[in-house]
């Protein structure tokens, strides 16, 4: 960055909403001394309310570490990370759990549904611990699975399972929807279905969405695309128009 690239702290091109995530001089390293691995180095970032951000970059570039810190799964070694008025750096385990519970929805690469619960029940499971959830049926309708409510994960395809996972993530009306390689295990067509579910959730629930991907094609869906490398944001692209998942080509 350092002047050569636009600062991630600059207001994005898509409007004047206030930042919801703020990271300043964020560092994360594992181990110590010569063996230390620096996953994030002095990273600054603002993400706006309702924004759809795609994180892209090679393995080891720090995408997941950044997502984990934003999601309250990990804490930075130094620097500041805040979600609205919640300081995430230095928060304790209980505070981070409460943060995830109230504000964050996660989608994993490997769906991680509970096999003994049906699609509806998997979604209800999260609704039960949320403050103001939508109905499970509603969340599943948003991802286009109204016809599969009573099916167990074992009876669903990978794409359907991932859409249940999206429904499970959005049922609590999260402020942030964080997705780590949500289409990594899926083929193109199925991947598009999942992405459109995520995109719809972003629009209709208003959840600020951050998606990690290796797939450059997905970048077209985003408001902004953050290119990461060596623990830093090396480039930012702002899309003038967000493509719909159907328009993506990869």
């Amino acid at each position: 960055m350092d002047g050569a690239v636009p600062s991630a702290g600059d207001p994005p091109a898509t409007g004047g909403a206030p930042p919801i995530f703020v990271a300043r001089a964020l560092c994360k390293s594992y181990g110590s001394g010569e063996a230390a691995v620096h996953a994030l180095r002095d990273l600054d970032l603002d993400i706006l309310q309702g924004e759809f951000v795609v994180l892209i970059g090679p393995s080891g570039s720090g995408k997941s570490t950044l997502l984990n810190i934003l999601g309250g799964l990990d804490t930075p070694s130094s620097g500041r990370a805040a979600w609205r008025d919640h300081e995430l750096a230095g928060a304790d385990e209980a505070a981070l759990t409460a943060y995830r519970r109230e504000h964050v929805g996660f989608v994993f690469q490997s769906y991680n549904l509970i096999p003994s619960l049906t699609a509806r029940e998997n979604v209800e499971l999260v609704a039960e611990i949320a403050r103001d959830p939508m109905r499970a049926e509603e969340a599943l309708a948003l991802v286009g699975l109204s016809h599969r409510l009573g099916h167990f994960p074992g009876q669903l395809s990978g794409g359907e399972q991932q859409r249940v996972a999206v429904a499970r993530a959005i049922v609590k009306r999260p402020d942030a929807l964080l997705c780590d390689e949500p289409t990594g295990a899926l083929d193109v067509e199925t991947g598009k279905l999942v992405l459109s579910a995520i995109s719809r959730a972003n629009r209709e629930v208003g959840a600020t969405t951050v998606v990690i991907t290796h797939n450059a094609a997905i970048a077209g869906m985003a408001d902004r695309v953050l290119h990461m490398g060596g623990g830093r944001i090396v480039a930012i692209e702002a899309n003038r128009r967000r493509l719909s998942p159907e328009e993506l080509v990869w």
Binding site: L67, T97, S116, L117, L125, G154
Partner: protein, 786 residues
């Protein structure tokens, strides 16, 4: 080292919690086997060695007074090898400071001096009496130890009403007094009963037995018929007042020892088999599940082209390491506990040596059996995995039943959180059943340790509160007219008295016979109350004999059948009498008649030979002293002393087994619960970590995972209590001991303790697993499964 071997060693390290709990489970099974069988073999070995070394007689006969000139004639009986006559008699011992009267028995040593030919003494210290020193005596080790008697000390005894003093010159063991107790008492009272071995001249003089004998012991030639020898012996001794010869089977010390060995054999087989069966079953389940949890690794090895055999061999090695560890722990613990158990027998059985014997085949057998059971479980699980196509195996298992519509309705309107444990249990009914059974089986282990207290309590309550209601029981030197009872009633401190007539008899029914004392009780007796199976007092009809249920079983007769009663005293007549009632007894075997009917049978007047007393506790001490000085009193046994001995001796044995079995119950409970939870965590850690990521707290996630186990435990514990009742009945049913009948009583407190121990062990395991849940790697949950 091959890579698979390296993986095996790392698996052992990585799964150390599970490996340790499973090894402990194996160790517990092996330990019980080694302990019980080792104890049995050691007792048996000590018995055989001592009997052989000391030339223990095979046939025994008591006679009123027979001339020594009869001995050569007896030696001529075909089948008799060595025969020896001797003089014995009951003695009262004047032991200063004794709380209750000390009784004893005096046994003669050969006139010529030296060891007898049969039943030789094994001297611990000192020497035998010199042939010419009539005041010298060897004392039996039991009393000597209990009262700290040393050679050089004097002991004063009253023989046949005359006071005589002996100087102790040696302390010895005797094969006929391996178990010593007052006649008729099933427990040793080392402080209150003494055995003295003195020169024959001294005893003969006291009992007016010069040139005569009152007891005969003999050994049989190889191939001789014991019944034939006994019959001939009885014929020869009858004119001299023979009381019926008998084999070793009816020799009191031997009979008690055999009973205990039979009991130990039962326990050495039943309990370890039950326990070992449980351990083997758990081993099978737990290890099978552990392999199941590695199914993706197995499938990956298979996908990489490994043939099945090296994979199976790899897991077999893993099992061998776990079993080897378990067996080593088990053998060490079993041998240690076996030594302890054997130590518990020392106050009962006086052997010169009682080394703990552990034959090499025993631990090898135990280890091999554990290995086989463990391997079966592992190979069954392995086969299931290897049969899958590699690609299928690489995916996490899809619980077969979970797709079924039936399961979808389970839980109904319960919350999704409540449905997870419920469906976890119902989705794999076989596994759930096995887990519950495993936990349930921990309960009987604890109950088997603790119920002895209940059983013994109820045994004492029945025998001493309901049946034997007197405080003391006095044996007279010879039968006296019934007015002796009235004399006794006038002694200070005596609150109530009842005379009894007790005669030695042999009961016969068809081919079976039994030697015992037949007691004549007054009608409406209150100090000894025979009771039926419902514990209602029984009046014994005058026309027949009442037998205890266990004696009737032994003789194979029922109420209404007839038994032959051969009186081994006086005119020695035989009578054919109906069994008119069955009564309960706990200690020894009982045959009862109405006293008048018994005396008529004997064609004697109203005679009594024993007196039961109820005593004012404040005057008891003085009364025992007074009784000790009365010439016609042979011995007084005091209930309070008996109860104290019972508490001391039995309680210690019970405590040992209670501690051991409770410990094993805990091992089982921990083994099953901990391993179930660990495997569940292994299988579902991903799910649980995902839920944590989604905002579930540690406690909520732990509740989901452990909730399933909690339900299993809560169902298993009542099941275990029912199993416990069954096992207790099974073990007591396998006992065959005429010294004691142990009622299958289990108190609510025992049940509650067992339940709490298992619940506690389960809770402790849950806490350990809970700590692992707290450390779940949340970040890894975001990544694809490897």
């Amino acid at each position: 080292m091959s890579m698979l071997d390296r993986k095996m060693l790392r698996d052992v390290l990585a799964l150390r919690g599970q490996v340790l709990t499973i090894a402990l489970l194996i160790g517990a099974g092996v330990a019980v086997l080694v302990m019980s069988v080792g104890t049995f073999l050691s007792l048996r070995g000590a018995q055989q060695t001592f009997y052989a070394q000391s030339h223990f007689a095979e046939v025994f006969a008591e006679v009123k007074r027979a001339p020594r000139t009869l001995l050569p004639q007896i030696a001529e009986i075909p089948g008799v090898a060595i025969v020896e006559g001797r003089v014995t008699g009951e003695a009262r011992v004047d032991w200063p400071g004794a709380e209750v009267p000390v009784a004893g028995r005096i046994v003669s040593l050969p006139l010529a001096g030296g060891q007898p030919a049969l039943n030789r003494l094994r001297l611990l210290v000192g020497r035998l009496p010199e042939p010419t020193r009539h005041e010298e005596a060897v004392i039996h080790a039991a009393f000597a130890e209990a009262r700290r008697v040393r050679p050089g000390e004097e002991i004063a005894v009253i023989l046949n009403g005359r006071r005589q003093s002996f100087r102790i010159v040696g302390i010895a063991h005797s094969p006929e007094f391996v178990f010593t107790s007052r006649p008729g008492s099933p427990l040793p009272d080392d402080r209150g009963y003494v055995l003295l071995f003195v020169n024959e001249t001294a005893v003969a003089r006291a009992f007016d037995m010069q040139g005569a004998f009152s007891e005969l012991v003999l050994t049989l030639a190889p191939g001789a018929s014991e019944p034939a020898v006994i019959a001939e012996l009885d014929r020869l001794l009858q004119p001299w007042g023979g009381r019926g010869a008998h084999g070793r089977r009816d020799q009191p010390s031997h009979r008690f020892l055999e009973d205990e060995l039979a009991e130990q054999r039962t326990l050495a087989v039943t309990v370890p088999l039950i326990f070992f069966g449980i351990a083997a079953f758990l081993l099978n389940v737990v290890l099978g599940r552990m392999v199941e949890a590695q199914r993706e690794q197995v499938a990956a090895l298979k996908a990489l082209g490994y043939p099945s055999f090296p994979i199976a061999a790899h897991y077999a090695k893993f099992v061998a390491v776990v079993c080897g560890l378990g067996a080593a722990l088990g053998v060490a613990a079993g041998a240690w506990m076996g030594e302890g158990m054997l130590g518990n027998y020392r106050p009962f059985f006086r052997f010169p040596e009682m080394p703990y014997l552990l034959p090499a085949w025993l631990p090898l057998l135990a280890a091999a059996a554990s290995f086989a059971f463990a391997l079966l479980g592992v190979l069954a699980a392995l086969r299931r995995i290897l049969r899958l196509p590699a690609a299928e195996g690489l995916r996490p298992p899809r619980p077969a039943a979970l797709g079924a519509g039936a399961l979808g309705s389970v839980g109904g309107r319960l919350s999704a959180r409540a449905k997870i444990p419920l469906r976890g249990l119902l989705g794999r009914p076989i596994r759930t059943g096995l887990t519950m059974l495993g936990i349930a089986l921990a309960v009987p282990m604890v109950v088997l340790g603790l119920f002895w207290w209940d059983a013994l309590d109820s045994m004492v309550a029945l025998q001493f509160d309901r049946i034997e209601r007197g405080d003391a029981f006095v044996a007279l030197t010879d039968p006296r007219p019934a007015r002796a009872v009235r004399e006794m009633a006038r002694l200070p401190g005596v609150l109530a008295v009842e005379g009894q007539r007790i005669v030695p008899v042999r009961l016969r029914a068809a081919q079976r016979s039994h030697l015992l004392a037949l007691s004549g009780l007054p009608e409406g007796a209150t100090l000894r109350v025979p009771r039926d199976a419902d514990l209602r007092p029984v009046q014994i009809p005058r026309e027949g004999v009442a037998l205890s249920r266990r004696l009737a079983e032994r003789l194979g007769v029922r109420e209404g059948d007839r038994v032959q009663v051969e009186v081994l005293e006086g005119a020695r007549r035989s009578h054919d009498l109906p069994v008119v009632a069955l009564v309960e007894d706990i200690i020894g075997l009982t045959a009862l008649m109405e006293i008048g009917a018994l005396n008529r049978l004997l064609r004697e007047d109203d005679l009594i030979s024993h007196v039961a007393l109820r005593v004012d506790p404040l005057a008891a001490q003085a009364l025992w002293q007074l009784l000790a000085e009365r010439p016609r009193v042979a011995a007084t046994s005091v209930k309070a002393v008996w109860l104290r001995v019972f508490d001391e001796v039995i309680a210690r044995m019970v405590l040992t087994s209670a501690v051991i079995l409770t410990g094993f119950g805990i091992i089982i409970a921990v083994g099953v619960v901990y391993n179930s939870a660990r495997v569940a965590l292994q299988e579902r850690g991903w799910e649980m970590a995902s839920l944590r990521v989604l905002g579930f707290t540690r406690q909520e996630v732990a509740r989901l995972l452990l909730g399933e186990l909690a339900v299993a435990v809560l169902i298993a514990v009542p099941l275990g209590l029912a199993l416990a009742q069954g096992f207790v009945a099974l073990i007591l049913g396998a006992r065959n001991n005429e010294s004691f009948d142990i009622p299958a009583t289990i108190s609510p407190a025992t049940f509650a303790t067992a339940a709490l121990v298992v619940l506690g062990a389960a809770a402790a395991s849950a806490i350990v697993v809970r700590r692992r849940i707290d450390r779940l790697d949340l970040v890894a949950a975001l990544k694809a499964r490897e």
